[in-house]
Amino acid sequence: MGGMRRLCAAAAQAMSASGAAVTVMAEDGERGAMVATDLTSERLEELQFVLGEGPGADAFASRRPVLVPDLAGETMARWPVYTPAAGDLGLRAVFAFPLQVGAARLGVFEVFRVRSGQLSSGELRHALIFAEVALTTLLDGQANAPLGAPADGLVGAVEHRAELFQAQGMVMVQLGISLAEALARMRAHAYAENLQLGAVAAEIVARRLRFDPDQRSPQAGQGEAGRQT
């Protein structure tokens, strides 16, 4: 998780924030590993999981960002316990982004500020990019991707995005695995075969490439994808 900590630090710096954190979460909302830039961010992140409420929890549950430029201006009804407790830790603004691709959710990325104020459009763009890189890192970690796998963003370079997600759904069913794992397998295959991710997706949707272990090449690992003629 050292890479993730550096990522959080870079994000905090790019967004003039006091800190940032990534929490890994299971689909059912159960919390996994957490990485934060500093002790206060860590405590803020702990806080909402202890309390069961807060912007990060909401971002994960609602599958969309939760942007709070002025925490003190929030109605108490939103997070009655979190808001004063986070305020006591000096928090004035918090921006939470779910780490997700469609229905696949892996965690949440949060940026903390000790002064209130909106994100500029440039900062917002940065945040979305950092969230995508964090998601990619988690995905590849899950798939035990080889070191040095391309960090070219998750889908950034793929032109036919719809096809990529369709292929993801197909691989999920072929292998009986999660959507997140399906995407990780596709990325690993693209890397191992030195192909663009978009090209791999196109082959899958055209049914020229499938990942079923019982179809071909039963050996484990990323070489298991079989080509059909």
């Binding site: 599958r63 430029p69 229905a103 909106q118 032109e159 997600f165 369709q166 759904g169 999920m172």
Partner: protein
């Protein structure tokens, strides 16, 4: 060309208003708008693209969404009428695809090959910002007059209102939250298409037709059905067979 019937227009606005006060699903709402726009001005296909705030235009809803059409929308990330409308904030009206090869060297031949002759694009405007575009394709020569342009632009403006339809309309953060949420919901629909295509051995277009047909018959939201599909593709057995033909 059309001189839209006032009765028809009124009906659509009533329908839209109903959707806005009802329990709200953005994708459903935008789909309704594109579908009704196609009927209103006799367009062959209508689609909507939203900007993802990193500058990419993403397909969000359409009157139709076969593979060819999706590709036409996706190309417009690089060039095409939607990108022009998005960048300039002004509509592109009655563009003739047969003579648009110089303007859009990649988009124009693709659109022509898909059977279209004319194209229009309207910006989705929010104050000084443009957040996406509404795209209309016609099989014949485009002949929108000023009245048509105003009506379709009004539909585009209604789409923007839908995006911001929560109470805290003044909060600029809301746009980001809604946009990102909507774009992600769209991805779930694509993932579900793939899951159905694989599980039932059909094309992704057929997978979508089944999913939409089922959602309509069961009075369930498309996004909700898509979520159910990717959670467990076997949970909706109705998707394994072709939908029954509607009577008549």
């Amino acid at each position: 060309m059309t001189t839209v019937s006032a009765e028809r227009l009124a009906k659509i606005f009533v329908e839209v208003a109903d959707t806005l006060v009802d329990e709200f699903d953005l994708i459903e709402f935008l789909h309704l708008l594109t579908d009704r726009t196609a009927g209103l001005v006799q367009a062959s296909a209508v689609g909507m693209l939203l900007a993802d705030q990193r500058g990419n235009l993403e397909f969000i809803a359409g009157s139709d969404e076969n593979v060819k059409l999706l590709e036409l929308f996706q190309i417009q990330n690089q060039q095409g009428p939607c990108l022009d409308a998005f960048r300039t904030g002004r509509p592109v009206i009655n563009a003739d695809l047969r003579t648009a090869g110089a303007r859009w060297p990649r988009f124009a031949p693709h659109a022509t090959a898909a059977g279209f002759r004319s194209v229009h694009a309207f910006p989705l405007r929010l104050r000084s910002e443009v957040i996406g575009a509404l795209n209309l394709f016609g099989a014949g020569v485009g002949a929108f007059d000023e009245a048509d342009v105003q009506i379709v632009q009004a539909v585009a403006d209604v789409a923007t209102i839908g995006l911001l339809q929560e109470r805290t309309i003044h909060r600029s953060e809301l746009l980001t939250e809604q946009l990102q949420g909507a774009l992600n919901s769209r991805i779930v629909i694509e993932q579900a298409k793939g899951a159905i295509a694989q599980a039932h051995g059909v094309s992704v277009d057929e997978a979508f037709a089944r999913m939409r047909g089922y959602a309509r018959r069961a009075h369930r939201r498309l996004s909700e059905v898509a979520h159910a599909v990717v959670t467990d593709v076997g949970s909706i057995p109705e998707l394994s067979a072709e939908p029954p033909q509607p009577p008549g």
